[in-house]
């Protein structure tokens, strides 16, 4: 009796270990669950006052999700980039560049571009959003062409782009602080019932679309093929340059969407500092979610989990009152531990 029980236990443990090593999605889901349980306890779960506990729990969660929606969307694009075997360091700078353009367009002060042309309100917003997304697409595609046609390593190409975009934005926006019309803030702050859920909805919808793209479309699967074995993909008739460029174009579009959410959530932008560190946060989320830096492996769901792990961890550190400067150290620790636990490529 004892014997069989021991065997069962061992085999469950073995099963668990196998799944843990074989499936990054499994391990990240479990880690996420553990962190959420910890967070629940920290928030003072108590049976008697379950009502008030639940409302503070819910508010806390909505805050977490809303604050991380922008970077969450960028990390989804980063997942595609990393799976394809690349990296994009320029996302933060691309974001301020796009933010600056959008804000100049919709500015309702004396210098506002569209306002001076007599376009205000919803039409102005639509034009600004279309141009912003178009700019993101253009900048991303430019980086992609630099990488594929110019044969510059992605790290270098995007490092260059990062410096260029940031510097140009800062230079041209010196002493100019556009005011964002209050109506524009509705994009992110529109209330459903009592809650401001819009950023969360955008994130969820985009995550679902990208999940579908990665699983079902030719582009999504070709990204994996290119990242896993570029030569074999090329010899299978895959247009490797087009796929790689496409990944950076997609990244650009996602950065634009994240930027629109960010601008409308806060209503202003610090062109010197906004978006700095986005690239590392996005890479961290993808890696914690099981994306392999050498390409070929990674999932959209994993990155969502990865982003949540980092976000909830941050929230916990906040609740515990850990000093802000120390929090980054914990973030770094999570990333390193996540990769330590993941399946390693056999040498």
């Amino acid at each position: 009796m004892n014997d069989t029980k021991g065997k069962n236990k061992r085999s469950f443990f073995e099963w668990f270990q196998d799944r843990w090593i074989a499936e990054p999605l499994f391990s990240t889901a479990i880690v996420l669950l553990l962190i959420i349980v910890l967070q629940t306890i920290v928030l003072g779960f108590d049976y008697d006052s379950i009502g008030s506990w639940f409302s503070s729990w819910l508010n806390n969660w909505i805050n977490i999700l809303r604050n991380n929606a922008g970077i969450g969307i960028i990390s989804l694009g980063m997942t595609f980039v990393i799976i394809s075997g690349g990296i994009d360091l320029a996302v933060g700078s691309t974001s301020v560049a796009i933010g600056a353009v959008i804000m100049m367009l919709i500015d309702n002060g004396p210098k506002g571009i569209l306002a001076n042309m007599g376009i205000t309100g919803l039409p102005a917003f639509i034009i600004a959003i279309i141009l912003g997304v178009g700019l993101g697409y253009g900048l991303g595609t430019g980086i992609g062409i630099l990488i594929t046609k110019g044969k510059i390593p992605p790290f270098i190409a995007t490092l260059g782009a990062m410096k260029i975009f940031r510097s140009l934005t800062q230079h041209f926006m010196q002493g100019y602080n556009p005011t964002v019309p209050r109506e524009f803030l509705q994009i992110a702050n529109f209330k459903i019932g009592k809650f401001m859920l819009m950023p969360i909805i955008y994130w969820a919808v985009i995550a679902y679309i990208l999940y579908y793209v990665s699983k079902r479309t030719v582009f999504g699967r070709q990204v994996i093929a290119v990242g896993s074995n570029e030569k074999a993909a090329k010899l299978s008739g895959v247009n490797v340059e087009k796929v790689k460029t496409g990944v950076y174009s997609l990244m650009g579009v996602l950065v634009a969407i994240a930027t629109i959410i960010q601008v409308s959530r806060i209503g202003s932008m610090d062109f010197a500092n906004a978006g700095s560190g986005y690239e590392m946060d996005a890479i961290a989320a993808a890696v914690v979610g099981g994306t392999s830096m050498s390409g070929g492996r990674g999932t959209i769901l994993g990155t969502v989990f990865g982003m949540l792990i980092i976000a909830v961890m941050n929230n916990l550190l906040n609740l515990f009152g850990v000093p802000p400067f120390l929090r980054e150290a914990f973030k770094g620790l999570i990333v390193v531990c996540a990769v330590l636990l993941q399946k390693k490529e056999k040498a």
Partner: protein, 495 residues
């Protein structure tokens, strides 16, 4: 020094690579080790060089039994192995390469550059090599890289040097330079084992030969007593092991014609044509340029000049995607690097080529792919578990069939198969031959690139033999034999 290898047996898995091989080499002689690809030459030398361990057998140096677990041990015993892909670091100067792994240091633990340079100069002087030790290895031509490797071996007092196809990437004058160096070593009492595919060179430089075939030593003796024809015959063997495969031949119109196609380095002036329903073999030895030639046809390699005609129309192909659109398929050599994508499952690997062809608005039609693959599993006799299993779960032969399947569903007009039976077991090999014959019956023009002369004789209607980037000769079904192919492939001519 005298090296003796006795009764060496070695297998990789169930594959017996060496079946009881013995050989002997004296100092001061150059001995050729020849054989077809896969005959066991490299494995035998890897055992002598301490790169891999034998299953049974013994090695004696001057009558004393030795055991090599690592290349370093073998080197210390005086055996230097110069690999085909040279072990030099391009970004370091010559003298640092000479002392790689055994750098000289001064008393304070810093690199003693002056002494390393001085000692390198001394060795070069001894060997009559005119070379500046401070030059970067990157700036050396291929023959001087060989020479630096040889000098390094000499500096370590090697008395036996193994050279694995040292001349494949060299030009004529460079080969002369390496040969004169080898003659000088011989005079100094160094024994050299010269692995080569080029029989003319064997005749020129070696005095003894050893021929391996299928892991057995089949012939040895003095080079002066044989001709290149004899050597070619030894390599292939008298007995044709299996019969030629025949089929009802029904040749259609011309599908592919090349006119004076020339590549930057790999091949030049290639003209040929293939008709629908025909199986054209293209064969040769390492470095003959056939892979590059047909990768150019497939858009994976650039061309310098010349014309490609597909169904009598001149085409320009700049990418593999275009080739696919035009109905050209290419099964690459080296399945692991070029064929399979290990992060994708069996079904994905079997369908990647046709994703864009069958997709509706960019969405992959998995139902259709699954249906096609199910049929292919039966037709190609693929042995596997679930179609969503990892591609790594299949044996080599079945992996190759999956890679083949991805091209078959694209219905190509022209299918190029580069080493289609590489690393495939005997049963799967016969299956793949059947598949190739069936393709020809379905009026596809098939080009089989192969390094196995026997394979070409068995399945091809006619074959072109390439040698150093040019077509050395053509043989056709009725008169085709392995002997002629080997003679052409080693640079000879047919009478």
């Amino acid at each position: 020094m005298i090296v003796e290898m006795k009764n060496i047996i070695k297998s990789f898995g169930s594959n017996k690579v060496l079946k009881d091989v013995s050989l002997k080499l004296k100092g001061g002689e150059i001995c050729a080790l020849i054989g077809e690809n896969g005959a066991g030459k490299s494995t035998l030398m890897n055992i002598l060089g301490g790169v891999c361990k034998m299953d049974s057998g013994a090695i004696y140096l001057d009558g004393k039994k030795v055991d090599f677990d690592t290349p370093a041990q073998s080197l210390n015993a005086g055996i230097a192995f110069i690999h085909q892909e040279l072990n030099l670091i391009n970004d370091l100067p010559v003298y640092e390469n000479m002392f790689l792994g055994r750098e000289l240091k001064n008393k304070r633990g810093r690199l003693d550059l002056e002494r390393m340079i001085y000692e390198t100069e001394e060795v070069f002087k001894q060997m009559n090599v005119d070379l500046d030790p401070k030059i970067m290895v990157r700036d050396l031509d291929a023959s001087y890289k060989q020479i630096v490797e040889i000098c390094r071996a000499m500096m370590m007092n090697a008395s036996i040097i193994i050279m694995d196809e040292p001349t494949t990437s060299l030009t004529e004058p460079e080969i002369k330079r390496v040969f004169s160096m080898m003659r000088m070593l011989k005079e100094r009492g160094v024994g050299i084992i010269f692995i080569s595919h080029k029989l003319n060179e064997v005749m020129e430089i070696c005095e003894r030969y050893i021929v391996l075939r299928d892991g057995c030593l089949v012939a040895e003796g003095n080079v002066s007593e044989v001709t290149t024809d004899d050597l070619a015959r030894f390599m292939v063997g008298y007995d044709v092991r299996t019969e030629r495969l025949s089929r009802d031949k029904n040749l259609g119109n011309e599908v592919l014609r090349l006119e004076k196609l020339t590549h930057e380095t790999a091949y030049r002036d290639i003209s040929l044509s293939v008709r629908a329903g025909e199986i054209l073999g293209v064969t040769g030895l390492l470095g003959d340029g056939r892979s590059e030639l047909f990768q150019s046809v497939f858009g994976a390699e650039s061309i310098l000049s010349g014309k490609i005609f597909l169904e009598r129309e001149e085409i320009r192909i700049n990418s593999t995607t275009q080739a696919l659109d035009k109905g050209i398929g290419y099964l690459p050599r080296n399945r692991k690097e070029n064929g399979i994508i290990k992060d994708m499952n069996i079904l994905e690997n079997a369908s990647i080529v046709t994703w864009p062809l069958f997709a509706k608005r960019g969405v992959i039609d998995w139902i259709r792919h699954r249906k096609i693959f199910k049929k292919q599993v039966k037709e190609l006799r693929i042995k596997m578990g679930k179609s969503t299993d990892s591609i790594d779960s299949l044996s080599g032969g079945n992996q190759q069939k999956v890679v083949l399947a991805k091209w078959l569903s694209a219905n190509p007009k022209l299918l190029i198969l580069d080493n289609p039976t590489q690393g495939v077991d005997v049963g799967a090999k016969e299956d793949i031959y059947d598949i190739i014959l069936n393709l020809a019956k379905e009026n596809i023009a098939v080009v089989v690139l192969s390094s196995e002369a026997q394979e070409v004789v068995r399945i091809c209607d006619r074959a072109l033999v390439m040698y150093h980037g040019v077509i050395q000769g053509e043989v056709s079904k009725e008169t085709m034999n392995e002997h002629d192919i080997m003679r052409l492939a080693t640079g000879g001519k047919l009478d």
